[in-house]
Symmetry: C2
Subunit: 164 residues, 2 copies
């Protein structure tokens, strides 16, 4: 499960890997109404908790944040991330963090891809016909990135296991 | 109840107003061990949830954050605030926000007081003999600020009620 936390829209996406194939299980963009801060964060927490309960992911991945436009927007983004990460902590699933570069590389093959290329490749990789909301697409990209990394690790470990 | 969320230390303090007098009910500084982000935020959420459950505050107040040193520290502070505010949202208590200026004015009588003056005045106002940890003191200051504001509002409303 990938999560793209935001104070206006929070996206999540669930991808299952069966052998070499990736399957789209669920994805959504949660629009956060402009009420009080505490109520908005409560909604992020609730909706992400619900999605985790419904989908029982093996792992959760979020995008690492390096920069925000300014301290004010970083604080607001941080609050949204805090609410989402608290929901993740309710399950016994470690939260993996990947940089935007790693996520783009995993999905498009290079780090400099724009968001339309990312959205297009996710639809191709998951065999989706319909358009994807941007934050749901980012969350799915995050999930796919984690699957790739987990596979590489597994391959490396099994290769290391046959060493003398 | 006042809360001073932070990623390294989160403080909280509970103050009860009986008539004109203020009473210290509880206060603590929660030290957050340097584990993973999700686990740290989970701890803030849990400890604040426990404190709310134990103390059943009528209202909760936090300090408004205007500025942080930089975007990175704002994000980290935002995450801690997000975890604490989600805990507050679990109870049906509106979260009030006050600026550092309003809090200092409420406790020391002027906005330019330093933190030692704030700590000293809180000990005087609450009749505490022992030293106060800085984040617990800030949380208590926040609670006292809310009590003062709530009293002013109540006085204003009762005065407005007798107008012709």
């Amino acid at each position: 499960m990938g999560i793209d936390p935001g104070s206006i829209v929070t996206g999540y996406g669930v991808v299952e890997a069966r052998g070499a194939r990736l399957h789209h299980i669920a994805s959504a963009a949660i629009r956060i109404p402009r009420t009080g801060t505490s109520a908005r964060l409560g909604l992020i927490y609730e909706k992400i908790s619900d999605a985790i309960r419904q989908n029982q992911p093996d792992a959760i991945a979020v995008e690492k944040v390096f920069m925000a436009r300014n301290a004010r927007s970083a604080l607001i983004l941080g609050q949204a991330r805090g609410a989402a990460l608290v929901a993740c902590g309710q399950v016994d699933s470690h939260v993996h963090e990947y940089s935007a570069l790693e996520i783009k590389k995993a999905v498009v093959g290079r780090g400099r891809a724009d968001k339309f290329q990312v959205q297009h490749m996710i639809r191709v990789l998951l065999g989706l016909r319909e358009a994807l909301q941007a934050d749901a697409a980012d969350a799915l990209a995050c999930a796919i990135c984690h699957i790739n990394h987990a596979r590489s690790r597994a391959r490396y470990e099994s290769a290391a296991g046959v060493l003398p």
